[in-house]
């Protein structure tokens, strides 16, 4: 019966590779812009170590989620919370996740708008960017997961291609001395930095939603892990090149270091001012990420409320996300403060609850076995 429920909400299936690619874009789209500033502020020339360490936390979340997914085949996190925690508590936890996904949508939309207005179009109102972005996202969610995944495959080529292009251009300016002294860090503070949600690959939680739609769910862990390692690896390489070009001190001066980085590139006096390339990549990446999270939120809400279709929810949640994004922060500094600190909420959502569910599943299984044993 549950199978039918999933089937009616989402008919499409995506390959594990596509799932991994969705994860990569979710990780890269925001982190490439925000992490350098935050991580370098706290860790100086060792910021990239924090990113690598953060990957491990992401992998922990991922493995919990994948394990849960395998124990509850054909079910999303919104469904197995209900089977594990009971109907009402399960729904509440499910809604918590919907809320959290939607919050990501709101934050990303806001970040995107702020970025566009500060760097490229200072006279254009924020709402233009938010509304147009959410429009595209809602449309894609309408079209379904398969379309989203396919489109993302295209976008990811664009994003990664241009990132490599920029890195390549910067190679001439590298000064490896900036990366020294290497490894002279306090482990505790490194740990703290690595737990910042942007550094920590928290996006791996989305796998809890898409595992049932994978053509081969048993490959979820491998695909997700590869994606997380790849995305954070690329981020670390990006950080290294930023650090090697500018040194840790200069990076702190700028709001969007990667943008500053591109602004300073000039090849043969003709090719310069690549910022717009960054903008293009960033728009595409942010669009994919917003869509993916909006999809997760919508699917979750539809499943919790027992709707037959995802569509009625899309416009409602999209509108809420936009309004939320306006009211979320007063100004850009609040936004920055919020993404650069880790809160108990984050730990609970991305680590606590999944772990709790895991323990619960395990206990249930044990109990079940014991009962079976007794009956025999």
């Amino acid at each position: 019966m549950k199978k039918a429920k999933i089937g009616s909400l989402e008919k499409g299936k995506i390959s594990p590779r596509q799932g991994g690619e969705l994860l990569v874009i979710s990780l890269l789209a925001t982190s490439i812009l925000l992490v350098p500033a935050v991580a370098v502020e706290q860790q100086g020339q060792n910021a990239w170590l924090a990113v690598l360490l953060g990957t491990i936390w992401g992998l922990v979340t991922l493995s919990i989620v994948c394990w849960l997914g395998n124990k509850h085949p054909e079910e999303t996190i919104f469904q197995y919370t209900e089977t594990l925690l009971g109907k009402w508590l399960g729904k509440v936890v499910g809604l918590l996740y919907v809320w959290s996904f939607l919050r990501v949508v709101a934050i990303v939309i806001r970040e995107f708008g702020d970025f566009m207005t500060t760097s490229f179009m200072p006279n254009t109102p924020l709402s233009v960017f938010s509304l147009s972005l959410i429009f595209l996202a809602a449309w894609t969610v309408f079209a379904g997961l398969e379309v989203l995944a396919r489109m993302n495959e295209f976008i990811i080529l664009l994003v990664i291609g241009s990132l490599y292009f920029i890195l390549l251009l910067s190679l001439g300016n590298w000064e490896l001395g900036y990366l020294q002294p290497l490894f002279r860090v306090e482990f505790l503070s490194l740990l703290k930095t690595s737990l910042i949600p942007e550094v920590w690959a928290v996006d791996t939680i989305t796998f809890a939603v898409i595992i049932p739609f994978l053509t081969r769910p048993q490959r979820a862990l491998a695909a997700g892990a590869a994606a997380a390692v790849f995305a954070n690896g690329l981020l670390a390489i990006g950080l290294i090149s930023l650090l090697a070009t500018f040194g840790p001190y200069f990076l702190l001066v700028t709001r969007f270091p990667i943008l500053m980085f591109v602004r300073s590139i000039s090849v043969a006096q003709i090719l310069s001012r690549f910022e717009v390339l960054i903008m293009v990549v960033w728009v595409a990446g942010v669009f994919a990420k917003t869509t993916f999270y909006l999809y997760c939120a919508c699917l979750g809400l539809a499943q919790i409320t027992g709707l037959k279709e995802i569509r009625p929810v899309v416009l409602a949640l999209g509108t809420i996300a936009v309004v939320w994004s306006f009211s979320l922060f007063e100004n850009i500094t609040e936004l920055e403060a919020s993404v650069s600190t880790t809160s108990p909420r984050v730990l609970l959502m991305y680590f606590g609850i999944p772990l709790f569910l895991l323990v619960l599943t395990w206990l249930k299984e044990k109990l079940h076995k014991r009962q079976l044993g007794r009956m025999q």
Binding site: W139, L148, F287
Partner: protein, 552 residues
């Protein structure tokens, strides 16, 4: 509006639940069959009533040589081989000199059998059980022989009419490759294909569509390669067509494509025989329509439109270069004017300083904003191109020259447009011509205009916005179950590479994966390093799938 809406509703209804295929027999069978009668005179009257007084209908009444039986021939003048009718049908029946034992024995009761089997000398011969059936065949160019008192009708295959000879395909010229193109005649077309694929499993599956045109449609495929599901889907969709006329394969294309409202062509068409054969051999289905040289290839993915058949005959490096060039040109054709408008009215910092100074100098005194200039020039160019196509060839060239050079130059001198814009428009236009598939380039031409407007409103963000909309649309498209953006999206790595790189033939071992052909392997491992004595090689490699490469 309401009308349009009901129309749309109907369309959707058609898509969602295809009605069970109505055979043409049933449609035509509204006239009660009992009108038909074995009595010849009544039958002829009936024919005259049904076919009317058309002057190409020929009814020839005659008797057998000894007046045993009354006979009548029905044929359409211009569609039949009269010499053949004279020599092989009428002469044996009428002639006294050739009278043989069968002519002697002829009576009303055994006339059908004898005429059928012994007297006439026509290779292609069939029977019709009633008049309606016979008329259908006659209208296709066959000749019907009515026998007085006999319900059954003998139909001789005597089709012959004026045909265009096989000529070089006009729309898909190639430097290297066969010069033969399809013609309007289906029989010639099938022969062209059969000559290329001499395999027992090549199938021509006949279907008909169009109530009034009764157009022949052939599905061409290789039985043990094609994906049966795709084939069944094609069959079903074509069978579901219920219309009165099919005049070109374009009709069928619109009936069977997945997204009828899409701006992108979802089926590739070709008039090159080699291209069609290659598609069939890859595991695709060719939909062959009578009376048009354009064959449809099903399923199609977007990247087929940047491939030309020549790629497969030239050196792989040439093909690689050309495909990269076409990919580049594809982007230019779509976004160059929009990007230009966006950059010069939003992102002036992107241009090198000296270029910006030149552009500014050129734009001083031009009354229009850059968008208006772009739309004006693009519009003018579209008009010129359309005029050039419609006019006779010799005049057409003159028009393009006068239009392109003279008007362009005058517009610059008059200060209407800036030279930069003319260059952009010209570059875009040339790029559109470099895309091999006309239908794909038209789609891009159309999309250019909204992109220009978006670019003028929001700069590059607007362009990206537009491109993402296009991307969402493309990602959602499917052509007979194959995602439109394959293999760049959703494909195996090998196929992805093959989109751009044409591998050398000896290394092109597998058929495209997404077509899901029954046999993926195309050939044995034919690397140049392997020297197998010729006689050990088999002609076909399909059967030896499990054979280890190198063994034999």
């Amino acid at each position: 509006m309401a009308n349009a809406f009901t129309f749309l509703k109907k369309l959707v209804a058609r898509k969602e639940k295809p009605k069970p295929p109505m055979t043409n027999n049933k449609q035509a069978a509204r006239k009660p069959e009992n009108d038909d009668t074995p009595v010849l005179s009544e039958r002829l009257a009936l024919i005259k009533k049904r076919l009317g007084e058309s002057n190409d209908v020929v009814i020839r009444e005659f008797n057998t040589s000894k007046d045993q039986v009354k006979l009548a021939l029905l044929l359409i003048d211009g569609l039949v081989d009269k010499k053949m009718i004279n020599d092989n049908i009428m002469l044996p029946i009428l002639s006294n000199t050739l009278a043989n034992e069968y002519s002697e024995k002829l009576t009303a009761s055994n006339a059908f059998e004898l005429l059928n089997k012994h007297i006439t000398a026509v290779s292609e011969l069939s029977q019709a059980s009633n008049l309606t059936q016979a008329l259908k065949m006659v209208l296709s160019g066959d000749t019907a022989l009515f026998i007085d008192g006999e319900q059954r009708i003998i139909v001789f295959g005597t089709r012959m009419w004026e045909k265009r000879t096989v000529a070089e395909p006009v729309t898909e010229a190639a430097v290297r490759g066969p010069r033969e193109g399809f013609t309007e005649t289906m029989r010639i077309n099938t022969s062209l294909l059969r000559r290329r694929i001499k395999h027992e499993n090549l199938r021509f599956e006949t279907m008909k569509a169009g109530r009034r045109t009764a157009t022949d449609i052939n599905l061409v495929y290789i039985n043990d390669i094609v994906n049966q599901e795709t084939l069944a889907e094609v069959r079903q969709r074509i069978a579901a067509i219920d219309t009165d006329a099919i005049l070109e394969s374009g009709y069928i294309e619109e009936y069977i494509e997945d997204a009828p409202f899409s701006i992108f062509p979802q089926l590739e068409h070709t008039e090159r025989v080699d291209k069609a054969a290659a598609a069939i051999l890859e595991g695709r289905v060719l939909v062959m329509t009578d009376n048009t040289p354009f064959m449809l290839i099903v399923p199609t993915s977007f990247f087929q439109f940047i491939q030309a058949s020549e790629d497969f005959y030239e050196r792989p490096y040439v093909a690689l270069f050309l495909r990269l060039l076409r990919l580049f040109v594809l982007n230019i054709a779509l976004i160059l004017p929009a990007t230009y408008v966006a950059v010069i009215s939003f992102h002036q910092e992107m241009l090198p300083t000296s270029l910006l100074l030149n552009i500014t100098a050129a734009r001083e005194g031009i009354p229009f904003p850059a968008v208006a200039e772009a739309l004006l020039m693009e519009g003018t160019f579209e008009v010129l191109r359309e005029a050039g196509i419609r006019l006779p060839k010799t005049v057409g060239q003159a028009v393009s020259i006068v239009g392109g050079l003279v008007i362009g130059d005058a517009a610059i001198r008059a200060g209407l447009v800036s030279p930069g814009m003319v260059i952009i428009v010209a570059a875009t236009a040339i790029s559109t011509f470099a895309i091999p598939a006309f239908n794909a380039s038209v789609a891009l031409r159309l999309l250019r205009f909204p992109l220009i407007i978006l670019g003028a409103m929001m700069g590059l963000y607007g362009v990206i916005f537009g491109l993402i909309i296009i991307l969402i649309h493309l990602a959602g498209l499917q052509s007979f179950g194959v995602p439109y953006l394959t293999p760049l999206v959703h494909g195996t790595f090998r196929d992805m590479v093959k989109t751009i790189v044409r591998p050398p033939w000896w290394a092109n071992i597998f058929r495209p994966r997404l077509l899901d052909p029954q046999q993926r392997r195309r050939q044995a491992t034919n690397t140049w390093a392997r020297h197998t004595p010729l006689e050990e090689r088999e002609l076909t490699h399909e059967e030896s799938k499990d054979r280890q490469p190198g063994k034999g």
